[in-house]
Amino acid sequence: MSPAAFASSRPRRHRPAYQRVIERLVEGVIRACGASAILFVFGIFFFVFREAAPLLGKLDWHQVLFSQEWYPTSRANVRYGVGALIVGTLSVTGLSMLLAVPFGVGAAVFVSEFCTGRVKETLKVLIELLAAIPSIVWGFIGLSVMNQVIQALFPAPVGLNLLNAAILLALMSVPIMVSIGEDALKAVPDSYREAALALGVTRWQLVYRVLLPAARNGLLAAVLLGVGRAIGETMAVLMATGHAVNIPHSLFDPIRTLTATIAAELGETSVGSDHYRMLFVIGVMLFTITFIVNLLADLAVRGVRKR
């Protein structure tokens, strides 16, 4: 080998300056993107908390958490009991998940495993379309359609209640679960499917013995996103729940949620008043609830993984 050829085959120690600059730049941008997620979460929490903070020390927390007396504008005796609102949010979210999870996961399995070709493509487009419907439109459907359907089918005097809102929330979160869940199932290697089917198992056995366990993390993420949407949803529940401060005893009782309370009342308060600050306290509570839900899910995933 000639000396010249030998020299050129050695790895070059110095790349052109502009390449190094670009690489630094790209690395910096990526770092900034990653850091921004943290920044935004803390930023949002900080600003919500800052508005709520002056009131935190003055509140009677036992009353706030357990009383259902929400009289923020009473002149004689102001009471900020959000017990009913918390129960309202949790009950409507829980009920909607009871409806949505079986449908969502089932539809994801159907689209991913049992559909092919044109049917699959059509279904995916339709489901994405369903996800794109604005929540105000859902609220409108709750007011005009679901209201009457519930009145016709059930012995309920008014159709604006827990069941109505839960059905709407389920309809809203199913499309998210389906598209994320389908991605999770798609991520299961085809070799698993082939290996299992070559062993002579049926497609159902394949689904519940191999695919669901293999995709459980992704499916859990899909369900969580659905839960997040349901907890955070404001407009549709404001319109469909009946918006009455009330701890529900049946499916047909009207309720009120934390989110809808903020939306309905924030515009009416004067900035800096106790009522105004109390609404921000509710915001902090919402934050806390979603945080706890995420944490529990994370722990659940870890627990499953360890096994």
């Binding site: 092919t116 290697p189 085809d190 070799s191 698993y192 499917r193 082939e194 290996a195 299992a196 089917l197 070559a198 062993l199 002579g200 198992v201 049926t202 056995q205 013995r209 191999v210 366990p213 293999a214």
Partner: protein, 254 residues
Amino acid sequence: MVTSPPKIEVRDLRLAYGHKEVLHGVSFAVPSHEIFGIIGPAQSAKTSLLRCLNRTIEFTPHIHVSGSIRVDGQDVRRVPDVYELRRKIGMVAPLPVGLPLSIYDNVAFAPRCAGLTNRQELEARVEKCLRQAALWDEVKDRLDTLGTKLSGGQQQRLTIARALSHEPEILCLDEFSIAIDPVTTMRIEDVLKELRREITIILVTNLTQQARRLADRTMFLWNGEVVELDRTEVMFSDSPKDRRTYDYVQGNFG
């Protein structure tokens, strides 16, 4: 052996992916309790051929199959229960696919799905299969760890154990030894020699010497066509019928 009907009979099998035909009319018959070797370079459609046998080829879109495959005299495309057919054929893929289950559950998977629930029978079955795959001694103390945590060679033996777990009558091995060290390969080859008393074995291999060691008859498949099919001694002798066979098995191909 000549009088009994063949276990597997393939007649004029053609397979096309889209417009590209990869098997151009392949015919052969395998009698019961034979070890049938299939050798041939990459892209000669050996794996596709195996996938036609248990009809897992159907999961690939845009395929077209013609000709006939009969297992026990019955056309595989007309079997009443395709799952029954697949349980009759054990399949070992070239790269191990550990299902995301424990070692025990990997092997117990197929019997369970077939409806075996008795715990003692299951345990006996798992142990038997793991012993047959020469893996039992290495994993007997940690049957509940994930199958995917095993080394590559161990995983491959796990898939062999799994392929035996539904007590197949035919075992198809697709280049099973590429992830296994030579010593373990020899142990499994001994197992295969034992197994042939009970079942029929189709051995697809890149190692021509493996076919020479094990197979009763060997088929040389090249570009989707059968170049030659004969008793293994003839194939590896100095005078096979086809010049290409000689070149391939002697290692001076191309």
